[in-house]
Symmetry: C2
Subunit: 396 residues, 2 copies
């Protein structure tokens, strides 16, 4: 009987994603959810994707439906390299490995670098999906606090010296969950230490092309190409259901080991989806689509920030990111956002409690709000509901 | 610099797939390759798939391009359960986890059950992709020899008693690489021991729906549903480029742990591909397609066997499987098929040396031949080339 089989220690220890569990609790009709991290589905360019499918299946069905190389479809790798160079990241197609979403990129990095009792440095809060991916390899975590500018560098050198961590994991631009961006001087300071102590920096970069205004700092991969593994994805730029992302690793041991681990994990990423995305990009449709989603998300963020200013009690603080998908709300220390989630659901509004993004479970008075998925109408109704919740809780 | 980073032991130890390396060596123009394990690309039902894409993108683009649950698209899971029940395997949709190819299914099984110094039982030869997937978790292997009927049961009980292995891994029907099928009495004997020693049997089943004639034995999952995890895939039935497969695990700890491990590995499988396959099956097109590929592959196998009888020297033995994709050739002991591969490539013909399928590197006088991908014309030219190679080698 399967309950009596012997399982691996990792399987016994592994928990389900807190976020997915919370999202399940908050699924009810009429609820307005700021909880997920989903792109706006009504903007998916279904017609352009359909046109790309048609072309691929007409021109090269034998190739697009067949087994393929682990590294990925070469013309797509070349297009990605071109796009990366345009945003200032120097790389060639042969440094790019196509992955099944960035979640798989994180898993591959875990496989290549991690094992029991080695250390990973992250910020606190950080992207929890990364922690979940890494946990399959049983590492330990060292966290640095965040301020307005994200990852705090002070204290990092001691961690590196004392624990020789295997990785420094960062989402430097419009971080999930808090929307913060690490400025150039901090990026440089982190890289200097990473180089000195010979530790790879993982630059997880799903959001930098969703910048609404102003300039984002130079990518860490651009500042120090040999010392950074960068992750990019079409999930936020085009459609997450296609599960196509990429990993850029320095040539040699790093890249080769990523490829071998991917080979054992799933041979290669969906060939058809790779061809379809290639065709879609080639027509210029992705750049057009990016304009549309930037405009829409920026308008939703504007509206949300404006309503938060109008309605939230003055003790409630929040970030005002210039891109990405998320805002971060901090309540007075006495409030536990996980505890009051049930009340929020009663008021038909939902969010993700911030503790879910702290490897040590702190951050109890924070929450993440998503502004890409809810419509303007939903934001107009949902933010006042949240404001009511805060007022009720702060008054009690 | 990345060559000086500290990598995990698994990454340092991991080798590239021998088969993929061999396939690279044998890539040259005009070569006739019996090496790969690919479906015939000229039979891919591109039009039906295009129609399914069009329908999905018209009817439900918001769902089909969005993030989705880890378990998979429910209507597809239901269709698979229905198909499984039709072939005698009792299961419900909620025991089915959609995976990114069966290679990912094997990886998930490795994650859930394996860790350093635990044992896995396989036959020798066995499917090497499984070994590659499992190796990421550093287990040890116990192999049982094969005869005409595949996995030899005698001696298995000692292994189970002595080593308490975590898994018994089998491809019971039309096994890759040797095309052999384990008969019902052996299946039962293996299951009786597995139950007695409380060890899960992994029934890797990519080929059983590619049966050309006669009846195949009852599936092991059907004989003992609570003691078997079964893997099935659309890669051989429809198109490997779509990377959609499934894993059927008993409810409770086994299923739940597989889902959690999949969540950390890549969140979920390509939503769009799942919807497209669902639409394709629903129209009845898959059953039609299966008739086409069974007929074609069976004709190719007939031709190949006939030419092998006519041309191969009498010392050369081979299996005559009644389904699947592969034939298995055994040469006199003195011949090393890896050594003579260079000569084969000179004669413009290729195969996979059998040692690649033996966890202990034995089987040096064997080779695997594929009959699904080469056309009849290629078989007519390629088999006499192989015969010439054998005659040359046996004469020297």
């Amino acid at each position: 009987m399967s309950d009596n089989w012997q399982y691996s220690r990792r399987a016994v220890a592994m928990k389900s994603s807190v976020i997915r569990d919370i999202l399940k609790i908050t699924q009810k009709p009429n609820i307005i959810s700021f909880g997920g991290g989903l792109p706006a589905p009504e903007l998916f360019p279904a017609e352009g994707i359909n046109e790309a499918c048609r072309k691929v299946l007409k021109d090269r069905p034998h190739e697009a439906l067949q087994y393929a190389t682990t590294e990925g479809y070469n013309p797509l790798r070349e297009l990605i390299a071109e796009r990366m160079n345009k945003i200032g990241v120097p790389c060639d197609a042969d440094e790019i490995l196509i992955t099944g979403g960035s979640q798989q990129g994180l898993d591959i990095i875990g496989r290549v670098f991690l094992e029991p009792d080695v250390y990973v440095v992250t910020s606190s809060p950080t992207y929890l999906g990364a922690i979940q991916a890494f946990n399959a390899y049983n590492p330990l975590y060292l966290t640095q606090p965040s301020d307005d500018q994200g990852f705090v560098v002070s204290g990092l050198e001691e961690l590196l010296k004392k624990h020789s961590p295997r990785l420094i994991y960062l989402v430097p631009t419009f971080q999930n969950p808090d929307g913060r961006t690490i400025p150039a001087d901090r990026r440089k300071a982190i890289l200097d230490l990473a180089v000195q102590y010979n530790i790879p920096v993982i630059e997880d970069d799903p959001y930098s092309e969703l910048s609404f205004e102003g300039q984002i700092p130079e990518h860490m991969k651009a500042m120090s190409p040999e010392n950074v593994i960068m992750l990019g994805t079409f999930s936020k730029l085009l459609a997450p259901g296609l599960r196509v992302a990429w990993l850029i690793a320095p040539r040699g041991a790093a890249f080769d080991r990523c490829v071998k681990m991917k080979q054992g994990a799933d041979l290669h990423t969906n060939t058809f989806a790779q061809h379809v995305i290639y065709e879609f990009i080639k027509t210029g449709a992705l750049d057009e689509h990016l304009k549309v989603i930037r405009r829409t998300y920026s308008r939703r963020r504007d509206l949300m920030v404006q309503l938060m200013r109008e309605h939230f009690p003055s003790e409630v603080e929040f970030t005002e990111p210039t891109g990405g998908l998320f805002l971060w709300v901090s309540l007075p220390e006495k409030v536990d956002t996980a505890e009051i989630l049930a009340k929020a659901v009663e008021l038909d509004v939902a969010y993700i409690p911030g503790f879910a993004f702290y490897p040590d479970g702190s951050g109890k008075n924070t929450m993440r709000l998503n502004f890409s998925k809810p419509t303007e109408n939903e934001i107009e109704i949902g933010i006042p509901r949240l404001a009511k919740l805060f007022k009720d809780v702060l008054a009690s």
